[in-house]
């Protein structure tokens, strides 16, 4: 009787164990399945939604690719001007109200966005800084071009056109933003002993027109300028248009940041000697990926350099550079 009793209890034990194991397995498989099918919602706030701006379009495209790769629903929010700092703050507030899991933001200001981004973090939203840093070390990760490094390579390239008498003008985009600060510092470093030949640094607030007029003024002020360095697409293209229109393409060598069809044409026409192009698609993709990892609680890098390439006339037709210069995805018919 006793023996039988024990055998029975063992049997029931095994039975229960089997049932429990099965239920745990099914449950965990179900959870895993749910986790896999779980759709996160990310919000991406670029500096501008300007449809003409190849850089930001590519960045958005990269972010979308990253989102589709990881089954994330991504919403793009933003203003149509890089100078609209308060507008971007508004967008951040709107984004927080939507309760996404993560916000990827390219801050238009190093200071103004900080409080609202802190607010987002306090609301449990992962913040990934894209392209530009801010004054405080918040956010899960920063994904950007190493602007200083890119500035150095452009400054070093510019040296070959310079001599002791050269005069250098710089056209920046927005004073005080981290990209402008880093790029300028990098270019100054790259220029080396020619740094003191810099006559003037102007800021166009990321407007073609303002860059144009500032360049015209600068040329009036310093007619001897033989090197103009543009710090982003707006400043470089605006300055190049001015130099072209002033007929000074022979006198003034130009280098610049970023790419657009117009900028490439200026490069083909030898108005630009070199441009440094970033990898906006990579940047957008990596930013979303970092956000995804942060949301999943995986290990993330505090800083990722999305890379940059210096393009001049001799290497612009190489296959790999063509792919960077003309993104497939942003082409419209």
């Amino acid at each position: 009787m006793r023996k039988k009793n024990r055998a029975n209890l063992i049997g029931i034990g095994i039975l229960l164990l089997a049932l429990v194991t099965i239920s745990i397995y099914v449950f965990s498989a179900y959870r895993k399945e749910q986790e896999r099918e779980r759709e996160y919602h990310f919000i991406f706030i670029p500096k501008t939604l300007d449809p003409q701006n190849g850089f930001w379009n590519s960045l958005i495209e990269g972010a979308k690719l990253g989102a589709s790769e990881n089954n994330i629903k991504i919403t793009i929010m933003g203003t149509y001007s890089e100078g609209d700092v308060s507008g971007q703050i508004e967008k951040v507030k709107e984004a927080i109200a939507l309760e996404p899991e993560a916000i990827m933001i390219a801050s238009t200001s190093t200071v103004a966005l900080t409080p609202s981004l802190k607010e987002a973090q306090a609301a449990g939203i992962q913040v990934v800084l894209v392209d530009s840093k801010i004054d405080e070390d918040i956010g899960a990760s920063v994904v950007s071009t190493d602007n200083y490094k890119a500035g150095v390579s452009l400054g070093e390239y510019a040296r070959r056109f310079l001599n002791g008498e050269s005069q250098i003008g710089m056209v920046g985009h927005v004073q005080g933003v981290s990209t402008a600060i880093d790029r300028e510092a990098g270019m100054r470093e790259g220029l080396g002993e020619y740094e003191e030949n810099i006559k003037e640094v102007v800021f166009c607030d990321s407007s073609y027109e303002k860059a144009y007029s500032l360049t015209v003024e600068m040329m009036k002020k310093y007619p001897e300028i033989d090197m103009i360095m543009g710090m982003n697409e707006y400043s470089a293209v605006g300055a190049a248009r001015a130099i072209r229109d002033l007929g000074l393409t022979e006198q003034v060598k130009m280098v610049g940041f970023d790419n657009s069809i117009e900028e490439i044409q200026f490069l083909e026409q030898n108005i630009f000697s070199a441009i440094v192009i970033q990898k906006p698609v990579n940047m957008g993709y990596l930013a979303v990926e970092q956000g995804f990892h942060a949301v999943q609680g995986k290990k993330i890098e505090s800083y990722i350099d999305s890379g940059s390439v210096l393009i001049n006339q001799s290497n612009m037709y190489l296959d790999e550079n063509q792919r960077l210069l003309y993104p497939v995805t942003t082409q419209e018919d």
């Binding site: 498989a29 089954n71 490439i264 210069l325």
Partner: protein, 597 residues
């Protein structure tokens, strides 16, 4: 307490045959199901994998066919223009007049325009001659100053290829300024009719979208996709081309190009990918389908879950049914068990079990029933025999009348006759006669106390006459007990004992008192004397058979005691009290109404 009971109850349930059967069934079922599950899942996985490879192969083939037919239609268009004499004449005939050349040019341009208008997937149509003459689109577009078309690979391969016709990989069209479109260039060598040599190229730029549209529609599972490689392994189309160019995504292109298997599994990444390839004879392109193992696995987990849930439900069902079945099967056993408990208690009449099953258990039940019946019969027989035995024992016991008494009495009668005491002789003889009549008169075990007292009275009459100086007696019987039955010859031996062991040994005349009355549910009869009494040792052994004095052949008190207790139970019988020099008191207690044993 309740909980304890419940526990006990549950515990008992667990050790029943029913639950043993149930548990065994279920364990077997679980085991069988697990084995089945394992086989089924394996098979499902294999089938899913095969199906996936098959489906992907079909899709890549379909895509390849679509691309082939698309390219073919383009080739037909190209052939119409390229093989026309007008183009050759315009490009290679220098001698013609300006007017003729212009009309020719306009005719060609209108042809170009017609084609471009009818197909929105064509971004450029152009013809270029080695001699520097060219026509692009509507004639207003020029070739780029910065890029030499003759250095383009597609241009060179067109001239050098056997067929004179080449489909390029996807590339940026930079020979036409301000275009910078991603295109696929279909080019055809132009033959100068005069020299019969290839001296130019006619090309059509197909929008990249025309190819990507053919591929992007085909999603393989959740994450899978289709991409195209040219014969050198360059990417013609990839849905994540941008990521590949940025170095964020790689495909195992060398592996794919070298593989001649129908599929290739790449485990290098986080998620293993199954590549399925279809090579076009026309373009030389490989359409590759990339399926993610996690997608297959997803179906797998779903299947697993369905299987497990089904198993769970089945198991629950089996438990339910098996509990029912085992309960039904073990019911006769439980009935037998319950009945055995009754048998243990001796309740044979209720112990018979109904035979329900026609199997081993049924015959077991039958055997049990007949066994119970037999035991019951044996028990009854045993009881009967016991009764008989007791009766005969009693008979034997009550038949023991002291022969010394008879002899002594007769002796006394002789002495009295010789002395001429006729009256006394008559009295004694008649008393003796009554005594004997009473002793042998009836067969009954019991007589009313009244009769028993009368018997004692006769006996005492005789003894009184024999021991004139030795004793006196008195009787005080409560009339209420006179009708109560008592076993025969219960009192006389006590009286005899009192006389022979108490009064007879006393110097002076003794007194004997017999009283009787009610005491609760019982009746008592007490024989007391003021004789010599007994010490404690004698008193303690008064009911011992061995110690008893049989010399006189009398009926010992132990005999009476045995009979009383046999008849009325151990609670009844004789109780002695005695003190040396003071006297002895013997008290019989019997129930007013005897319980039948």
């Amino acid at each position: 307490m309740k909980i304890n009971n419940l526990k006990k109850h549950i515990f008992r349930k667990f050790r029943s045959t029913q639950s043993t059967m149930m548990v065994s069934f279920s364990l077997l079922m679980v085991l069988a199901m697990l084995i089945f599950l394992f086989i089924a899942l394996r098979h499902t996985r294999e089938v899913a994998f095969e199906n996936s490879v098959e489906a992907t192969t079909a899709i890549t083939k379909q895509v390849n066919d679509n691309i082939d037919s698309y390219i073919e239609s383009m080739e037909n268009i190209a052939a119409v223009v390229a093989n026309g004499t007008e183009l050759s004449m315009y490009l290679f005939n220098d001698e013609k007049s300006d007017v003729a050349e212009t009309t020719n040019k306009n005719r060609i341009i209108s042809q170009f325009n017609t084609i471009r208008d009818s197909r929105d997937d064509i971004s450029n149509i152009a013809a270029v001659a080695d001699n520097g003459k060219y026509l692009v689109n509507d004639g207003t577009d020029t070739l780029s100053d910065y890029v030499n078309i003759k250095n383009q690979r597609w241009y060179q391969t067109t001239l050098s290829s056997k067929s004179g016709q080449v489909v390029s990989s996807s590339h940026v069209q930079n020979v036409i300024p301000s275009s910078y479109k991603w295109v696929i260039t279909l080019s055809k060598a132009l033959i100068n009719h005069q020299t019969a040599q290839r001296e130019g190229v006619f090309f059509v730029d197909l929008n990249y979208e025309s190819i990507s549209d053919l591929c992007s529609r085909n999603r393989l599972g959740n994450k899978g996709y289709v991409f195209i490689l040219d014969e050198l392994g360059n990417v013609v189309y990839h849905p994540k081309m941008q990521l590949m160019y940025g170095g964020l995504k790689t495909e195992n292109i060398t592996g794919i190009m070298e593989s001649d298997q129908p599929y290739l599994i790449d485990d290098s990444g986080e998620d293993s990918i199954i590549y399925t390839k279809s090579v076009s004879d026309k373009t030389g392109w490989s359409v590759v389908g990339a399926t993610y193992a996690s997608d297959l696995l997803k179906n797998d987990t779903q299947t697993q879950m369905i299987y497990f849930v089904a198993m769970f439900l089945l198991l629950a069902g089996v438990l339910l049914v098996s509990s029912f079945i085992s309960k039904e099967i073990t019911r006769p056993i439980r009935d037998l068990k319950d009945s055995m408990v009754l048998v243990e208690k001796g309740q044979f009449l209720e112990a018979s079990v109904e035979v329900t099953a026609n199997n081993e258990l049924g015959s077991l039940t039958k055997s049990f029933n007949s066994m119970t019946q037999q035991i019951q019969n044996l028990m009854e027989e045993n009881i009967h025999e016991q009764k008989e035995k007791r009766r005969s024992e009693m008979k034997a016991l009550q038949a023991q009348i002291n022969p010394h008494f008879l002899y002594n009495t007769l002796d006394s009668i002789i002495w009295m006759s010789e002395a001429g005491e006729n009256e006394e002789v008559v009295l004694m003889t008649s008393a003796l006669a009554r005594l004997f009549r009473q002793a042998i008169s009836n067969d009954k075990e019991e007589v009313p106390i009244r009769e028993e007292i009368a018997y004692v009275k006769n006996y005492l009459t005789i003894q009184k006459m024999r021991y004139k100086d030795k004793m006196d007696f008195d009787m005080r019987i409560d009339p209420r007990i006179e009708g109560i039955p008592i076993i025969k010859f219960a009192i006389q031996p006590l009286v005899e004992n009192s006389i022979y062991h108490g009064l007879k040994l006393k110097e002076e005349k003794g007194q004997l008192l017999i009283t009787g009355g009610l005491e609760g549910e019982n009746a008592y009869l007490e024989v007391s004397d003021n004789g010599v009494g007994m010490d404690t040792e004698t008193l303690n052994h008064i009911f011992d058979e061995k110690k008893n004095d049989y010399k006189r052949g009398g009926v010992g008190v132990n005999n009476v005691q045995r009979r009383l207790q046999l008849y009325y139970g151990a609670d009844y019988g004789i109780h002695y009290e005695s003190k040396v020099g003071i006297g002895t008191k013997a008290r019989i207690t019997i129930p007013i109404e005897r319980e039948s044993l």
